[in-house]
Amino acid sequence: MDNPDPILPETIARLYRSLYRVRRIEERVAAIYPTDRIKSPVHLSIGQEAVAVGICDLLRADDIVSGTYRGHATYLAKGGDPKAMLAEMFGKVGGCARGKGGSMHLVGLDQGILGCSAVVGTNVPVAAGYALALKRRRRGQVVAVFYGDGASEEGCVYETLNFAALHKLPILFVCENNFFAIHEPLHRRWAADQLTERVATFGMPAKRITSGDIFEIRDAASGLIAAMREGGGPAFLECHTYRWREHVGPAEDYAAGYRSRADMEDWERRDQVARLAALLPDAERQQIDAEIEAEIEAAVAYAEASPFPAAEELHAHVFA
């Protein structure tokens, strides 16, 4: 990695805080899961945090993110409220979607988080539509849309890339390539590993980042986003990353045989949470850790305490 600007200590601390928060909240979710209080499929981002965190670090409060059913990291990195997230997963009325959306449909418009979708790829054109509106508003806002390597195969994603480039929409496409769609490896789904090259043919800057390095991701996005705010149009990043847990659910699944633990270990060695922890002075790190742990306790307590929605809520929100 080539990293011209020296990284400021406060940047490291900020990124670490965000990474650690995502990691620990998800670990907590995984721990709670077997108790069946979360009656919701959970798709953990553990191992993949650096992509969302690195990119969201560059976003303004009035920028927008759009994520998927594997959206915990996106939600949290953009400032989503862990209380509302946990309560949502518990099906409680204090949840960000009042318990109606669950883990796959996190949302937080106040923090610029467009609702996540459980139908792969669907969020991508919706995010572009939001970007169209932002472009009309001319306030320099941008959208970052996250989606998987599997989603990149859906027709509507190609269609969106063309449209976004044609209309110079302020949108950063971020493909989180974790090499798998559920248990299916890339080579059973991609004719060629040239996604980034393909996206470039729509006439937008497109870059592949294979290291998983949060600084490299952040640096790459930084220039693209700055240009975008000036009307430069969309850009694309393919970020290699790795999902450490099973596709859905709290456990590891290396025994299943569809991928090898060695691959994961390779990524584990590059773990950005551990890496940034090591870059911080001990005391500062401990302070951050303690704050996060307290935040998580509060979030779980909030989720537990929040009531279930009343039966009448079933019929609310069908129409606006």
Binding site: L114, V119, T122, L132, L134, G155, L166, H317
Partner: protein, 359 residues
């Protein structure tokens, strides 16, 4: 501006259905900067049969623009823009093409407000036109509103005259929900008195096109016009038709229909679509649920033949209900003498005659 019974309009100006659509959109774009109109070919010289004519000139290419052939993603774009507070009108020259957008319409547009706990709204209008005749055939002729009626969260409107076209379009644009706006190509040239100023036609209020006592006929979209012709043929043989145009299918004004059938005990629903699990099935089922217990009830549905639409006029003639088949069916349902049928020449399809309203 309107009541379910009559159009309370002092308008003397007659407008074609297509121009009523255009005027409604233009006035709303004038009123609200967040309204925009996009979709394949909205900005070309044909302007969707003229229904988007002048929008590009008046409002510029940011607010009236064509798209790539990418209906699925463009629907997502409309949804996203709507979530951001804009009011997109997405135009499709055929309703058949909505099959390309079903995922976004059914899984996102219909559900977003609910599954995000009320935190977002999706105020968008999906205009789509139904084609007919001259070889439109299998893939350019479908009325697929029933699919949208099936899914909570979508509104569905199908105005049958220029007045309602304008009023419903303005209401649809101002509505905070996704509205599927169904138009019929053959209605476009038909004129009716339409006020010049903007007005809304409220959804969920059926329109009584004729008052009668012998049989209730519900005519959907352009079938309302065909039914009107059938009703006048029936009148000549002494059958009085209570003719109802639901105008909007979601919400659906069952009250008006139920009240009518409670009097007539006879219901014929004529739809511009297939019958199976269609709009007519819903109307018939609700009527049966609410009135079936209280005595005999005669119900029939008409619609497309249960086949794919053929192109050859020789077969297409048998594919659609028409004033003759509607009148015959209603006559038989009302217990009329067997074998009656109106003079075919006088029962020509309504759209082949200038339709002038008012009603």
């Amino acid at each position: 501006m309107s009541s379910p019974d009559t159009v309370v309009s002092t308008a003397t100006r007659s407008l074609r259905y297509v121009d009523a659509l255009r005027e409604a959109v233009a006035q709303e774009m004038q009123r609200d900067d967040d309204v925009f109109c996009f979709g394949l070919d909205v900005d070309d010289h044909k302007a969707i049969q003229g229904s988007t004519q002048g929008l590009l000139e008046a409002f510029g290419p940011e607010r009236c623009f064509t798209t790539p052939l990418s209906e699925d993603a463009m629907t997502g774009v409309a949804i996203g823009a709507a979530m951001a507070g804009m009011r997109p009108i997405h135009v499709h020259i055929r309703m058949d093409f909505l099959m390309l957008c079903m995922n976004q319409l059914v899984n996102m547009a219909a559900k977003a407000h609910y599954m995000y706990g009320g935190s977002v709204k999706v105020p968008m209008v999906v205009r789509s036109m139904i084609g007919k005749s001259w070889g439109q055939g299998a893939q350019h002729s479908q009325g697929l509103h029933a699919m949208f009626m099936h899914v909570p969260g979508l509104k569905v409107v199908a105005p049958s005259n220029a007045y309602d076209a304008k009023g419903c379009m303005i209401a649809a644009i101002r509505d905070d929900n996704p509205v599927i706006f169904m138009e019929h190509r053959l209605l476009y040239p038909i004129e009716a008195p339409v006020p010049e100023e903007p007005f809304t036609v409220a959804f969920g209020r059926a329109r009584h096109m004729r008052r009668g006592s012998d049989i209730t006929i519900v005519g959907i979209s352009n079938m309302a016009v065909e039914c009107l012709r059938a009703a006048s043929l029936l009148e000549e043989v002494g059958l009085s038709v209570d003719l109802i145009d639901p105008v909007s299918l979601v919400p659906l004004d069952m009250e008006t229909i139920i009240a009518s059938v409670a009097r007539t005990r006879r219901l014929l629903v004529v739809d511009n679509a297939w019958v199976s699990a269609g709009a007519g099935a819903e109307i018939a089922a609700q009527v049966a649920e609410q009135l079936g217990g209280s005595g005999p009830l005669s119900i029939r549905r008409m619609g497309f033949a249960p086949t794919t639409c053929p192109t050859t006029p020789a077969l297409e003639a048998h594919f659609y209900p028409n004033p003759l088949t509607i009148a015959k069916t209603a006559h038989a349902l009302a217990g009329g003498s067997a074998g009656w049928e109106p003079d075919p020449e006088r029962a020509r399809l309504a759209y082949q005659q200038a339709f002038k309203g008012p009603f």
